[in-house]
Subunit: 202 residues, 2 copies
């Protein structure tokens, strides 16, 4: 996996990027400065350790379970022995770093999600197609004057609409966003047309 080297948004402190082009009068990083990590960089380091710790713990737990007989591996009941975390804790505690909850942590297998961050948009999932019922309800809500619902409200609405067909919160969010934006755009165009003495677009 080696991605440990990669994600560091703030590059490791490389020996002073010699701003060879000396900004004459001003400050310049000294060798000593370069040797220091900025708090941000430090933070990144800590997070990396925390992340590794978490992954390690999960992996260890997984392995243990497997080793202890493949017999009872079931998702929900999944007892977490909390052992094995000790190692990580020892490792990281030496510097006051919290393993992302080593010992305290989730009693569920932390899923690993994929979302390639940079790469071109992956093969996208087929896009949502609102059922007529959903659409009707959405329009209705929109007509009510409701703007893009946020927070808990969005969750509720999504739940409601889920009774009418497949949907998720992102769909709801997108729909409202697009609806509003496009209404406004249409409005603008209509006005522009009118102002120009053309017949307004339908």
């Amino acid at each position: 996996m080696e991605q440990q080297a990669q994600p560091a948004p703030s590059p490791a402190p490389s020996p002073a990027p010699p701003a060879a082009e000396a900004p004459p009068p001003q400050w310049r990083p000294t060798a000593e400065d370069a040797a220091k990590l900025t708090p941000t960089q430090l933070d990144t380091l800590r997070h990396q350790i925390a992340a590794f710790s978490h992954v390690c713990n999960q992996a260890i737990i997984l392995a243990q379970q497997k080793v202890e007989e493949g017999k009872s591996f079931n998702a929900p009941g999944n007892s977490l022995p909390g052992r094995g975390a000790g190692v990580m804790h020892a490792l990281s505690s030496s510097m006051g770093i919290s393993a992302s909850g080593a010992g305290a942590q989730p009693s569920y297998p932390a899923p690993v999600y994929n979302k390639n961050p940079d790469g071109p948009r992956g093969p996208s999932a087929p896009r949502w197609n609102p059922t007529p019922a959903q659409l009707a309800r959405l329009e209705e809500l929109f007509l009510t004057g409701m703007g893009t619902p946020n927070g808990e409200l969005r969750t509720q609405i999504t739940e409601e609409l889920a009774k009418l067909g497949p949907i998720n919160e992102a769909n709801v969010y997108n729909w409202f966003q697009n609806k509003k934006a496009r209404m406004k755009k249409a409005e603008r165009e209509r006005e522009a047309a009118l102002a120009a003495g053309r017949p307004p677009p339908v």
Copy 2:
């Protein structure tokens, strides 16, 4: 942003590791403390990361082998039964939505939501405050290179994090958005400062 990195101070009441824990009291490193790390300590940090990386790789390899042996293992998080089964075929008049189905088919109540669309933002709900555990997991995911999760993925992540404390999808979305934007901004500023011959902002 930096001190939010605080190591989950007092781990949630976890029954897990009995004796081994030397729960660091309430203390946590301030930015200043961090800045005081000696080069040796920094070096140690790097070594720790390297160590974690190695251990992770080994553990993962091990786990994979084990899993392949056992083969009855189904990963969590893949199955999303996209509720296609009972999707309603509803014809909707502008409001009443009748879904037909066997058994109880209550005419759909169509709840009324409030979201004052124009008016000054009402008394807003108290804003979400991520638990240390949630924060750790979020950082971890972010470090993994994950961008703002969308669609179903976001739902899954939210569900996962919901086990660590109150949260909703919007929170997750916002967090990622803000995180990314602010990382980028910090980066820009750092570069700008350097280019201008000023000491990079902490």
